[in-house]
Symmetry: C2
Subunit: 271 residues, 2 copies
């Protein structure tokens, strides 16, 4: 069991930030990553559509005999996690719950900010988790769709990104937030800009980091962790995409210090 790979998926390349944290924390695991490049992004799409897409992906990952699923996409975690948990007999970890837990632990003012996609914000799922930990917590959400395009264009340290961050984060003025969840896989790429604009008094939460911690915990509890060293070869990290792998490989290098030469294309609609 422990030798079987962990399945990680995202709408595209963003989930590689989660894979990076998983590899760092669980270096002896094998991973299969799927990026739904043909239908990306998910953040502007409806719950029903994102759920349908996510289920197809889990069915595909099952054919590769994964032992667990990490939903690295915030939008899919926000809107489709329950459907995946209910529909499949596999341990599933999303990025929303670990991020919410870390934010609930960190806040002192009880006021938490959330920057994410339209779909994640309107799902209301972050409030739900946060209020389970502490019913007095108040969440202020702000959809930041342009951040994704800016990161994918490589505008990382850029006055335009700073200006857009100023506009988005002005939503938190006067709200007394002391914690801000980066609720989209792309956002940690511009963490420095977000931190500068948000101010030093605001603690940023990176759900990728928290998700890796939760995954480790879950594997240990279930005795599914692989403790033997594995050779880092093509079979240890396998990458699949729903569109031509070219663009994936190109953008992936922004996110992951790994060569992704061997990404393979599959027809996800058939699953």
């Amino acid at each position: 069991m422990s030798r079987r790979p962990i399945g990680v998926f995202d709408s595209g390349v963003g989930g590689l930030t989660v894979l990076k944290e998983l590899i760092r924390r669980l270096p002896n695991e094998r991973y299969v990553y799927f990026g739904d490049m043909a239908r990306a992004p998910y953040g502007t799409k409806s719950k029903e559509t994102v759920t349908r897409f996510s289920k197809q992906i889990v069915r595909f990952l099952q054919t590769l005999d994964v032992k667990a699923i990490v939903v690295a996409c915030n939008t899919a975690s926000a809107v489709a996690l329950k459907a995946i948990e209910d529909g499949f007999d596999l341990p599933v970890i999303g990025v929303v719950k670990p991020g919410a837990k870390a934010a609930a632990d960190a806040t002192k003012t009880g006021r938490i900010g959330l920057i994410a996609t339209e779909a994640s914000i309107s799902s209301g799922i972050y409030e739900e988790y946060l209020n389970k930990y502490n019913p007095d917590i108040k969440l202020i959400g702000k959809a930041c769709p342009l951040f994704v395009s800016l990161v994918e264009e490589g505008c990382i340290e850029d006055p335009v990104t700073t200006e857009i961050a100023r506009r988005y984060l002005s939503a938190f003025k006067g709200t007394d937030i002391d914690t801000l969840i980066m609720g989209c896989t792309h956002f940690p790429m511009i963490e420095d800009t977000i931190q500068r604009v948000a101010g030093d008094h605001v603690r940023l939460v990176n759900p990728a980091f928290e998700t890796a911690k939760s995954t480790q915990q879950m594997l240990e509890e279930r005795d599914m962790k692989n403790d033997n060293e594995i050779p880092v070869d093509e079979e240890a990290y396998r990458f699949y995409v729903s569109d031509s792998p070219e663009r994936f490989r190109r953008i992936a290098n922004l996110f992951l210090p790994l060569s992704i030469a061997g990404a393979r294309q599959i027809s996800i609609e058939e699953y």
Copy 2:
């Protein structure tokens, strides 16, 4: 025959700029519009994927008995038009050829600029058409992916859009272009900014306008034009989408001065 609707499709809402020009020029036609919101955008995806998606859409539009197809999406026109022409027994008009023709007619320097998606630029199809009209024409292309996000965020008259336009259009410095093709349906929405940054000596070509002209010509040549006035009701303009219609309706109002209350969702993957 003439009473049958014209099928118009795009990856999302952008093609509504083409529909607007069609309605203006051919007010007595019925229209069926399909926006592939579940899989939008197309501009970052491969030729094979965009072709597969486009064929599914044409098969769907055929079930509504359309008399002709207008491919309102620049990317689909650039990479999939030939496959549609070859695969279906229907007159098909894309936006690339009319845009290229207008640009070839307009240029005096023989240097034409093209701003479009990654996929359109790398297809090489604009050069192909332009050089059919005049083999001496030189095309300079520049992919402008951020424009789409900026328009969809409503950043129409905005210093950030101006700054991004400055960066993108600096690709044409020293090239002596006198004509610039707005090779993406979203770009005419920021025409004023593009014109200001490009300078008065550059003539902007809007393929939506040219496509409506070509469609009229095609219908007249084939005696397929409807000349009887039609009542403008829900049946005259029908809208279909592949995702929940909500977001479509909301963004559509940026593009079209028409109420799109009746947009219907269909499962495009089944076609």
